[in-house]
């Protein structure tokens, strides 16, 4: 991981966040990646809430720009899980961005971060509507775009483009 620190040299705040994260969560396998001046960290599903609370309270990432759902059916390597959820965090007023990535299996239940960031309410409903990933203790997990009785999850790779006949 040391060469990751050099990459962050000209980004002091991100470097400081990197140090804090590595110090407080030594055991868990946090996989950092820094490309195109965007820091991303892969986090195991169990510690997501703990890490996000830590990032929000101690590291100052006070706003959530977006929650992004991914279906890596075609590009996942061996043994990797199918879905991934990315949390695009934003630090204000220091103006820094961080992307937290969580791998979710076929019918695993992710845990909702609405208590932490109220902005995620509809974004998580959209991910459930489009990918079928359920979120534990989300205020009202319903479909947001599709009709409530719609079967299938449109943004999955195995969902045909023209829809099911």
């Amino acid at each position: 991981m040391p060469e990751m620190r050099e990459q962050l040299n000209n980004f002091p705040i991100l470097q400081n966040v990197f140090d804090k994260l590595s110090r407080t969560f030594p055991g868990q396998e946090l996989v950092f990646s820094f490309d195109r001046q965007e820091l991303a960290v892969r986090v195991p599903k169990e510690h997501l809430l703990k890490i996000l609370t830590f990032l929000k309270d101690d590291c100052g990432f006070n706003t959530l720009s977006d929650v992004i759902g991914l279906d890596n059916l075609n590009i996942r390597k061996e043994g990797e899980k199918r879905f991934a959820i990315l949390y695009q965090l934003y630090m204000f007023p220091a103006v820094q961005r961080l992307r937290v990535r969580v791998e979710i299996g076929e019918n695993e239940v992710a845990d909702s971060i609405v208590p932490l960031y109220p902005a995620a309410d509809w974004a998580e409903r959209e991910i459930y509507d489009m990918f079928g990933i359920r979120f534990a203790h989300h205020p009202n997990l319903r479909r947001i775009y599709m009709d409530d009785e719609w079967d299938g999850f449109p943004l999955r790779k195995d969902y045909p483009l023209e829809g099911k006949k």
Partner: protein
């Protein structure tokens, strides 16, 4: 007498929901208890379509997101693609993009003033706003040939160069805006009825606005100094000096004032961009078949409605693996629930208007 809540359906076809949106209002004799927006009537599945089209073919789709600011959507998408593919846009191209994007912001804000005033009753301001916006649409028709969904930018820069005729048209349009704004301000800003309808309505404190993820004029009206053109400058916005208007008590009136001031700032930006327009190429040479190696990027810009971000995941082919669009109106509409509690039905209409939501953007 048992208290009985009326459940009022505002929409999906209602004169002031700016498109196809249904608001389920739980109302106790005009006082709003709960608001539940229902969206999805205009869902075209743009993200699914993006996965089956090449990077070039996606740009026209982004026009249809916020159809009042087509250029801004293109700009957000193209900046993300260029960052992913490592394409460097020449300086002149960046300046022309800034001019077109700011013109689009003017058109969007002028349309917004019309809609918001019309929702609150001042019908004539709608026509004055649209008459002014007409001058800008003429410029787009002269530059690219279309008026609303114009598809005016391309990967690597801009399709045509600005010639003297277009620049003179732009300067003429910019000259007529301040006079029109003064008329609108005389009609609205210190009008007591307008103040009664907008001051102290739909108030949301700054910290809660940040927690809810609000962005754009709605957040700046709460006094939070967050404008991506200033915080994370893109497409050479750092070369222009303009100030970010801020509100104090984050109500409908402040959002109105912030947007009025933003129009004046955009006019300033365009004038500086035209004055300092560098020479040279206006579009980088981009291979006909653009294949982008695997990778992901998230890039956002300051669209008229708020922070518009594109997350693109490339898989090495000429079609993206996944395109996620972070849309400001989606988040702004989500905060409507928090803003409308305890106000009257008439205020819900005013607050909805002040958030300037566009359903094409929300439903993607």
């Amino acid at each position: 007498m048992a208290f009985k809540e009326i459940e009022l359906n505002m929409g999906p076809q209602h004169p002031s929901t700016h498109g196809v949106l249904r608001l389920k209002l739980a109302v106790d004799n005009e006082v709003v208890l709960r608001v539940e927006p229902v969206v999805g009537y205009l869902h075209r599945g743009i993200e699914k379509l993006c996965e089956h089209h090449t990077y070039f073919q996606i740009t026209p789709y982004t026009d249809r997101l916020d159809y009042f600011a087509a250029t801004q959507n293109n700009l957000a998408y193209l900046l993300a693609v260029e960052k992913l593919a490592g394409i460097e846009v020449p300086k002149r191209g960046q300046y022309i993009r800034v001019i077109l994007a700011e013109l689009q912001r003017l058109a969007s804000h002028l349309a917004w003033i019309g809609f918001n005033a019309n929702d609150i009753g001042a019908m004539s301001v709608l026509l004055y706003g649209f008459a002014e916006r007409e001058g800008i649409l003429e410029i787009f028709e002269e530059y690219i040939g279309a008026r609303l969904t114009i598809h005016s930018l391309r990967i690597g820069g801009v399709p045509h160069d600005l010639d003297a005729k277009i620049i003179s048209m732009i300067l003429a349009a910019l000259d007529s805006i301040p006079a029109r704004l003064k008329d609108i301000e005389m009609l609205l800003s210190d009008n007591r009825i307008w103040k009664h309808r907008t001051q102290g309505v739909g108030v949301i404190p700054a910290d809660e606005a940040l927690a809810l993820g609000l962005t754009g004029p709605a957040l700046r009206a709460a006094g939070v100094r967050w404008d991506i053109r200033k915080n994370i400058p893109y497409s050479s916005y750092e070369d222009f000096d303009f100030d970010v208007p801020l509100g104090t008590n984050s109500d409908v009136y402040d959002r109105y004032l912030v947007r009025l001031e933003e129009i004046r700032q955009s006019v300033r930006i365009i004038r500086q961009a035209i004055a300092k327009l560098p020479g040279g190429e206006s579009r980088a040479t981009v291979p006909k078949i653009l294949k982008i190696p695997a990778g992901e990027v998230f890039h956002s810009i300051e669209a008229p409605k708020g922070e518009l971000g594109f997350y693109i995941q490339a898989n090495g082919s000429e079609k993206p693996e996944r395109v996620k669009i972070k849309v400001p109106s989606f988040i702004n509409l989500q905060s409507l629930e928090r803003m409308c509690r305890g106000y009257l039905i008439a205020d819900v209409v005013a607050i909805l208007g002040s958030l300037d939501i566009v359903l094409g953007e929300i439903d993607k």
